[in-house]
């Protein structure tokens, strides 16, 4: 796999506060990555460092194969961090022309990219007249101008209304479908779950996990069960080494699996033991549950 960004033992201190602690991970071409973490976990700082606006304290990072300088590499990167920042007195088109000048690309892409984000008919309007959703879409158009190898988005749906959030997600999915690598930082778990294939989980500047989203914790899922013979079922489950933790909420029993087991097999087993289930659902933890479990384990 072709690496796009490699981070090695990166550390950033703001005075006494350590915002990023000994962080290492690699971003490979073609995947959609999420950086997940609560507010203040060092997501934006990490992105700021690799984008050359925040100075690192120690450690290192390199773009692509390590032979390009950060300055040159950034011309092949598209990034939006926090809020969309443009010159308020310039129109959308003028702002994008300026970005073209910085990146050293031709002006011909401007119309195409404005069309992707649906702002073509507003291109002559001044940036300050735009709504937040439109500003964010313009930022995406700007980040796409150089047909980047990787698109970095820091909380792209922050502060948007549901319609705006939906539009942005739709655009991100379309871009990802074209094979562009995406790195998405967010504290919204369902957002990462919906869009990303890989995830890096941060907490207080430390990496808790990096890898595929569906392999985040060693889990074989769990059964949600209801029956009239609650006590017998519980006794059975406790005796069975296939099951680990058990949770009882009212008449709902949740049994976590230690080993893989399918729902029909389990149903058959219970039936053989003389227990008839009135409710049987096999589920995997949602990203939110996984995330909380992961962060809880360290507390």
């Amino acid at each position: 796999m072709e690496p796009i960004l490699t981070i090695n033992n990166l550390t950033k201190k703001f005075g006494h506060l350590t915002a990023v602690k000994d962080l290492s991970f690699t971003i490979n071409k073609g995947n959609v990555y999420g950086i997940l973490g609560p507010n203040g976990s060092g997501k934006s700082t990490t992105l700021g460092i690799v984008l050359n606006v925040v100075n690192k304290t120690s450690g290192g990072f390199h773009w692509f194969d390590g032979n390009t300088t950060t300055h040159d590499a950034l011309k092949q990167v598209g990034a939006i961090i926090e809020r969309p920042n443009f010159y308020p007195y310039m129109s959308a088109e003028q702002n994008l022309k300026l970005v073209c000048r910085i990146k050293g690309v031709d002006h011909s892409k401007i119309e195409e990219k404005l069309d992707i984000v649906g702002l073509l008919d507003r291109k002559d309007h001044k940036f300050r007249t735009y709504s937040l959703g439109m500003k964010q879409r313009l930022a995406i158009a700007s980040a796409l101008l150089n047909d980047p190898e990787i698109l970095i988005l820091d909380e792209p749906t922050n502060g948007l209304d549901p319609q705006g959030i939906h539009q942005i997600r739709q655009i991100i999915k379309e871009i990802a479908a074209n094979g562009t690598t995406i790195l998405l930082a967010s504290h919204l778990l369902d957002e990462v779950e919906k869009v990303c294939s890989h995830v890096v989980v941060l907490r207080k500047g430390e990496k808790l996990y990096s890898g595929r989203v569906d392999e985040m914790i060693n889990s074989h899922g769990f059964f949600e069960l209801k029956t009239e013979k609650n006590d017998e079922l519980l006794k059975l489950l406790k005796a069975d080494s296939n099951f680990g933790k058990l949770k009882v909420e009212g008449d709902l029993i949740t049994a976590f699996l230690n080993q893989p087991m399918s729902a029909p097999d389990f149903n058959q087993l219970m039936f053989d033991k003389g227990i008839v289930l009135s409710h049987l659902v096999k589920r995997k933890e949602s990203l939110e549950e996984q995330f909380l479990q992961l962060t809880d384990n360290l507390n």
Binding site: F14, G48, L51, N52, V53, V54, N55, H71, L74, K75, V77, A79, I81, R83, N85, F86, Y87, P88, Y89, M90, Q94, K97, L98, V99, R101, I102, K103, G104, S142
Partner: protein
């Protein structure tokens, strides 16, 4: 280099306020110069023609025009300070860097623009003085016309130095109004220190030190020409003779300050987390 200048010019030109200020800083000294050079008739009571005073004769015209034109630099100083302040307040500085401009290029694009503007201003004043001089001056030999043309160089260096100082204060304080205030404070502070030195130290040492201070060294590049005009009217009064020439070391001091301010601006930006 052209790319960086174009970049900055686009930022300035599309901003209405800075466009107006640029116009003023170019046109106002020019208009004042033209107006003062024509004969004004005050309703038949008397006519005022500054040209008859001999101030538009070569070579003194170079001295006079550059001295008075340099006061209009304050308009462009506002532009310089706000072109940094706006980048901070719009957070476009951060976005520029993310888009692939290096911190060095960012400072250079501002500096090149300063040099470009100073060059334009110098050329404009140069051409205007030349034409007005040709019209009024009785001497038209090339050796006399171009005799004190070094005042143009001094004018150019003075502008570059002053705007570099503005750039540095802009980078340091991030806000236009604070930077302009600080500029004023620096000027006052220099005067106070000079006053204290005059009071405590005898001889011409205080003045020598004073001439090394940033704002004063820029002012000192082109000495005031009033005394010189008086000198030409009263050649017998030897006690008012003073040294008004542009010296190489005066230029060197200002160039030194300019280099320092640009370097410090870069260092400041490099160290800063945005």
């Amino acid at each position: 280099m052209l790319r960086l200048v174009k970049l900055e010019l686009q930022k300035l030109w599309l901003n209405k306020v800075s466009r107006i200020l640029i116009f003023i800083s170019f046109l106002l000294p020019f208009t004042v110069l033209i107006l003062s050079s024509i004969k004004i008739n005050f309703f038949g009571f008397f006519t005022l023609e500054l040209g008859e005073l001999g101030i538009f004769n070569f070579p003194i015209i170079w001295h006079i025009t550059t001295f008075f034109a340099s006061y209009f630099k304050f308009f462009f100083a506002i532009v310089v300070v706000s072109m940094i302040g706006n980048e901070y307040s719009n957070k476009t500085l951060k976005q520029n860097l993310i888009d692939g401009l290096s911190k060095k290029e960012f400072i250079l694009s501002k500096f090149y623009t300063i040099v470009f503007f100073s060059l334009c201003a110098t050329l404009l004043i140069g051409v205007a003085s030349f034409l007005i001089g040709l019209y009024y001056s009785s001497y038209t030999e090339a050796s006399i016309i171009f005799r004190e043309v070094e005042f143009l160089l001094a004018y150019f260096v003075k502008l570059v130095g002053f705007f570099s100082l503005c750039l540095f204060f802009g980078m340091l304080l991030k806000r236009s109004a604070f930077a302009l205030g600080f500029l004023f404070i620096t000027w006052i502070l220099e005067l106070i220190i000079y006053g204290l030195m005059e009071w405590k130290i005898d001889g011409d040492l205080p003045e020598k030190i004073f001439n090394f201070f940033p704002v004063q060294s820029m002012y000192k590049l082109i000495d005031q020409p009033i005394q010189r005009i008086v000198m030409t009217k009263f050649p017998e009064k030897t006690d008012i003779i003073y040294d008004y020439a542009v010296h190489w070391y005066e230029i060197a001091i200002v160039l030194g300050w300019s280099a320092l301010f640009i370097f410090l601006s870069y260092r400041l930006l490099k160290k800063r987390d945005l």
